[in-house]
Symmetry: C3
Subunit: 345 residues, 3 copies
Amino acid sequence: MGLTLDEIAARFGGRLVGDARVLIRQVGTLERAGEGEIAFLANSRYRGQLAGTRASAVIVGAEFEAQTNLPRIVSDDPYLCFARVAQLLNPSPVAQPGIAPGASVSPGARVDASARIEAGVTVEDGAAIGAGCWIGAGCFIGSGVSIGSHCRLYPSVVVYSGCRIGERAIIHSGAVIGADGFGFARDGERWLKIPQVGSVVIGDDVEVGANTTIDRGTIEDTVIEDGVKLDNQIQIGHNCRVGANTAMAGCAGLAGSVRIGRRCTIGAGSIVLGHLSVCDDAHVSADTVVSRPIRRPGRYTGMYPFDDHESWTRNAALARHLAELAERVRKLERQLMQVEDPKRG
Amino acid sequence: MGLTLDEIAARFGGRLVGDARVLIRQVGTLERAGEGEIAFLANSRYRGQLAGTRASAVIVGAEFEAQTNLPRIVSDDPYLCFARVAQLLNPSPVAQPGIAPGASVSPGARVDASARIEAGVTVEDGAAIGAGCWIGAGCFIGSGVSIGSHCRLYPSVVVYSGCRIGERAIIHSGAVIGADGFGFARDGERWLKIPQVGSVVIGDDVEVGANTTIDRGTIEDTVIEDGVKLDNQIQIGHNCRVGANTAMAGCAGLAGSVRIGRRCTIGAGSIVLGHLSVCDDAHVSADTVVSRPIRRPGRYTGMYPFDDHESWTRNAALARHLAELAERVRKLERQLMQVEDPKRG
Amino acid sequence: MGLTLDEIAARFGGRLVGDARVLIRQVGTLERAGEGEIAFLANSRYRGQLAGTRASAVIVGAEFEAQTNLPRIVSDDPYLCFARVAQLLNPSPVAQPGIAPGASVSPGARVDASARIEAGVTVEDGAAIGAGCWIGAGCFIGSGVSIGSHCRLYPSVVVYSGCRIGERAIIHSGAVIGADGFGFARDGERWLKIPQVGSVVIGDDVEVGANTTIDRGTIEDTVIEDGVKLDNQIQIGHNCRVGANTAMAGCAGLAGSVRIGRRCTIGAGSIVLGHLSVCDDAHVSADTVVSRPIRRPGRYTGMYPFDDHESWTRNAALARHLAELAERVRKLERQLMQVEDPKRG
């Protein structure tokens, strides 16, 4: 099995340089690839590894084309080209249709005959599971849930009642879709729970990472649009809407009623505070708290810089007294103005 | 089914204005509510939606009473009033008593006859599950655990051995109660594990969000008092105590041996460092690191402000040199003093 | 059952002062220990509790030796001594070998006869589970996974196909080992998934906290070396390597392709950004974003200081205008230089 380099180039449109007949069976890294493997250079941080690689071929941008003698595909977007080659050489496994012994499927659920339901799965009444779905061991599919065709739920995913998932979703283990949003009204000293009667609606081609949680809406639905990619341990609060093809990195969080535009990226550990909107094509860096709406595309950042502990101690102490420092500067400006021109004093 | 507006007002004490006989069947948002639905205005951010709403009635504060002609309930606390109406119209479902096939219940466990145990649940020896409890599919209830009456555990909750949960708890999927605290002593280059022999004790009327973790105590218990509400993905370290009616938002964390007072709110993504105490009625904003004890009620904040990336780059670079800047200001002050009064130099 | 104080001292090497025959059955805290319990003083924060303790004996450092009349072990490292005593008095439970009814073990899996597999566990084809392992209810062990001897997986752990775990691992509930790394290439407006064909390799004596996630590598493996201790809700991205005996506190995260050295500590809620390296013996404080490589051992910090909300508001506003403030200081310096020496202007 495998493909020759010219077959790869023909299929994915890069320019081939060198031996067209090299057989490629797998992808590899510049550092460790060997015989039969194709590596790629997409992050210039790793360009020093190009000279020494033992890969049989490489995918590079034009700027690195001359820096290797290996058979190569020169691509406008080496990372995308690599992704396509990797997908071709590593097709997703397809499950054997059927319901495993030890699954609990309600007679009132509709499971497509081509779907696979593993042991320990519960599918409740009124749920519908589409063609080619693969529901991993121990998943819970609540009453009335609908899951489109060709979805893969890895083991131990929980989908609460009434949620709707589109086609080709990939949902990793421990994800919880549709738990109650965090809604309470103060009632004297205590909190009164607000029933969360909305649901979660997930579009097509969405991936949800391990242990990510997406809460159901209070009244209307929490919505994840087509093509959204969510990393692990993300928290999406109730009533949020995440626009198509937005990607969020690990441990990011959206408070309630947040709207994120299309094609955004939200960095690891970032938080968007409640009821705020972020426009299309906004890119939020890691560990940034979005505390005001974002209305223009662009990159936004709010990481506090780290330092060796002693330097941090000195500087952070002053961060709590910036207003005083600014006042001292203002006073100096006034005094100096008077020194320069005593009549204005 | 449903209630007339005067029935709602009579039950919950608001002042009725307009047609008392309107029939209300469900709650809705100002933006999308329709025939038979009651909406509310509690956050002035949404007041612009009041004029255009198609709801059959609204709940408003006195300040907005005159801005609509719809039948309305005028309430001192529209959000609380809405919560009560929403609860009344959306009662919690009650499970059918019994132990589903495919559950593993130890003969040494006591399960009340009115409780429901779903498929794939394990209940170990010595555990006790109270009246009206509903234990979702795939939950694990360890040996000696006690769960009070009318608790709901959604699917895939894990409760380690010996933990005790009060009445009317709601625990969402993926929550882990009673895993070992993170306790190790350095032993040369290695870490020696400290057995975590305490437990977790949870009071009455507590809600625990999806994928939240509450570690057992090292020697004594980790304690969550009555009425505490925990959102998703919260981490509570060993030996903590969270005071009654405190609410913590998503992704917040308490390191070990932290004490949080009563009626506090802890914002999303905030962290309280180890061994610190936070007094009653303290309110910690989102993404704040509590690095000193909090001894007075009030609001506390430590979010680093975000900005467009270029502005952030300029300013954050200086945040690492604040001490130098302050020193330059001090020097200017000394020099200027000398310029103004050369005799003092 | 129990040990006398001189047996404890003999075994663990502290210096015994006072009655050697006191019988110790359990460990306790200074505040609450009673008859038959030994307490310890390792954190000077709690020294005020030494005088009033009702423990039968205490473990203290030499600096506190004279502050109590109780029978005591004087130790160079009271916390380590306490850990050893606690381990001795609280041995880990050992499971009864066998495969519980309701577990699904593939005929192509190898499970050591001394291992325990609880109800609801799935063990897929080609997986190997070593001697003395205890696999909790509802765990999923994917195809080809290998787990060394004497590991304990608490209920609801998921180990994806092909991952390898060493000996004596402790993995807490909800941990997900080997989910896909977050790898996508932009393809116009959409994201193209990059197959994650690497795996996760975990060394010996590793502990993994509840709901922690460790992603599989893109091409090569994500590696957790021997003796690493990971707290709850940690996220380890694809292709990371965590060096031996490093400890990471709760909610910390490593983006992709990060390398952490040996014997490091990473504080709660900290993040290391992608492709960065942290050298051996580096200690990162809580809530710090490591945005540059760390090349020298030491302590590093980047917490933004919190304050009462009003003070924070004043100071944080200026944090966004530091560059202007610095420019005003520069201007003052120039003006003052001219005032002092007009010829240089």
